[in-house]
């Protein structure tokens, strides 16, 4: 039988009753790329901000349009600016994009297991993000950099489809200028004017400076990318137990009641979304779980 993992160090969800929303309003929205935007939300009643741990997500409900799990992408030390980065792929995410400043939405959470930043102390940390997968990892990067002295090398490897799909450009430029963070970016398809790496993100693993035996790796992106990245990290000598992945499944209740997000014996909402790699490795190779 699966055990429910330890509770994260972020705040408990406000309620485990999926009908309990908190009313928020959209403060600001800005476009990151052609299909991805970031929103900043504020509680309608002006109440205290809700703390969260890097890797956790909220359920966002656009009234009458549907509800979706979206990771928190802001700085955990500034929870008052509740920030989410969303890729508009379908009805609910597109209705989030249509929300105007001041308009309301429902929020419940934060839910889910966080990235194991405490356990990684003293280790090198390799953060591997693919596409929108950088959003759930950004809070982890903020926290790693806040506590920079607690870690060895910190490496960010980021892959996207093309240069125009790169998220958080200004921030990435700042991170690339830091001497205490190695940031490597690659694209699958180069366009004119791109002078960076071309190729899938797993090809960056051999180029980064870290000591595999003392490395904790955090991976988020499409599942195929996760599989190949974990394999490449293992090949380089990272212990599988030190590799963590964040998985996505469609969700409804987000609190372990409905079974919608089932992944083999696991519920992604309750047992994840962040899992240690050995826990899900076998399942990732199976076609239907």
């Amino acid at each position: 039988m699966e055990t429910i993992p330890e509770k994260p160090f972020g705040q408990e969800p406000m309620s485990t009753d999926p009908r309990h929303f908190r009313a928020y309003r959209m403060k600001r929205r800005w476009q990151e790329t052609h299909d991805t935007f970031t929103i900043e939300l504020a509680a309608m009643d002006g109440s205290e901000p809700v703390n969260f741990a890097p890797g956790q997500f909220n359920m966002l409900y656009v009234f009458g349009q549907g509800e979706v799990p979206i990771s928190i992408s802001g700085d955990p030390r500034q929870p008052s600016a509740l920030t989410h980065t969303v890729r508009a792929v379908g009805s609910a995410t597109k209705s989030l994009r249509r929300l105007k400043a001041g308009e309301g939405l429902g929020v419940r959470g934060p839910y889910g297991s966080p990235w194991p930043l405490e356990g990684a102390r003293g280790n090198d940390v390799v953060v591997v993000a693919g596409g929108i997968g950088l959003a759930p990892l950004r809070p982890a990067l903020y926290e790693l950099l806040h506590r920079r002295a607690d870690y060895g090398q910190i490496v960010l490897l980021y892959g996207t489809r093309s240069p125009t799909d790169i998220l958080y450009r200004k921030e990435l430029a700042r991170w690339r200028a830091r001497f205490d963070l190695e940031t490597l970016i690659t694209v699958d398809r180069a366009t004119d004017g791109w002078h960076g790496h071309v190729g899938v993100v797993s090809t960056l693993i051999s180029k980064a400076s870290f000591t595999p035996a003392n490395t904790t790796a955090l991976i988020c992106g499409p599942e195929i990318m996760i599989r190949f990245t974990a394999l490449a990290l293992e090949k380089r000598g990272v212990t599988p137990e030190n590799i963590y992945v964040s998985l996505e499944r469609n969700m409804k209740c987000a609190v372990g009641f409905c079974g919608h997000c089932q992944f083999g014996p696991l519920f992604v909402c309750r047992d994840g979304p962040v899992f240690s790699y050995p826990r899900v490795k076998g399942l990732l190779a199976v076609r239907e779980v």
């Binding site: 299909d35 792929v89 693919g130 596409g131 892959g159 996207t160 489809r161 799909d165 690659t186 699958d188 398809r189 180069a190 004119d192 791109w194 002078h195 960076g196 790496h197 071309v198 190729g199 899938v200 797993s202 090809t203 051999s206 180029k207 992106g221 499409p222 195929i224 990318m225 190949f228």
Partner: protein, 153 residues
């Protein structure tokens, strides 16, 4: 020569190779350097070199009449550039251009082929290493073609 042998031994492609084999390979090797933007080889030209990259980055490009040069991959420190010396008709299939000041060991393709024909033990060891790298590149290229970041239904 001794220095070149050390550099060869330190390159990931040849790491752990028998000293006797390294000694043979040194006879085919020379140090080369490319400036930013310099064309290293061009599609259709004779492919008679294998480059072991030591520093810098190189783009592998294909020229498209509509789009101009399209970068399909970049390789860098520790990588191997160029397989076409291995199989007939020994022509480059792509262009390669230095993106940074680039240092490499150039292994003469004709020399390599001759040495491998003379010493099948060396040939086997070398081909196994080349096959491993080609397999890795093929996997990476397949992933790239999958367009994993697309909006899949």
């Amino acid at each position: 020569m001794e220095n070149l042998e050390r550099i060869l031994a330190e390159h990931p492609f040849l790491a752990g190779m028998e000293p006797s084999h390294l000694e043979i390979l040194v006879g085919c090797a020379s140090n080369v350097r490319f400036e930013i933007g310099q064309l290293i080889f061009r599609q259709g030209e004779d492919a008679d070199v294998c480059y072991l990259l030591r520093r810098g980055r190189v783009s592998v490009e294909v020229f498209s009449p509509n789009r101009g040069p399209v970068v399909i991959q970049t390789v860098g420190e520790g990588d191997v550039l160029g397989w076409s010396w291995l199989t007939p008709p020994y022509y480059w299939h792509f262009d390669a251009r230095a993106l940074d000041p680039t240092l490499a060991i150039a292994l003469d393709g004709k020399c390599l082929r001759r040495k491998c024909d003379e010493d099948h033990g060396l040939g086997y060891v070398l081909l196994k290493r080349v096959a491993t790298i080609i397999e890795q590149r093929l996997q990476a290229t397949r992933l790239q073609l999958l367009d994993v970041y697309g909006n899949h239904s």
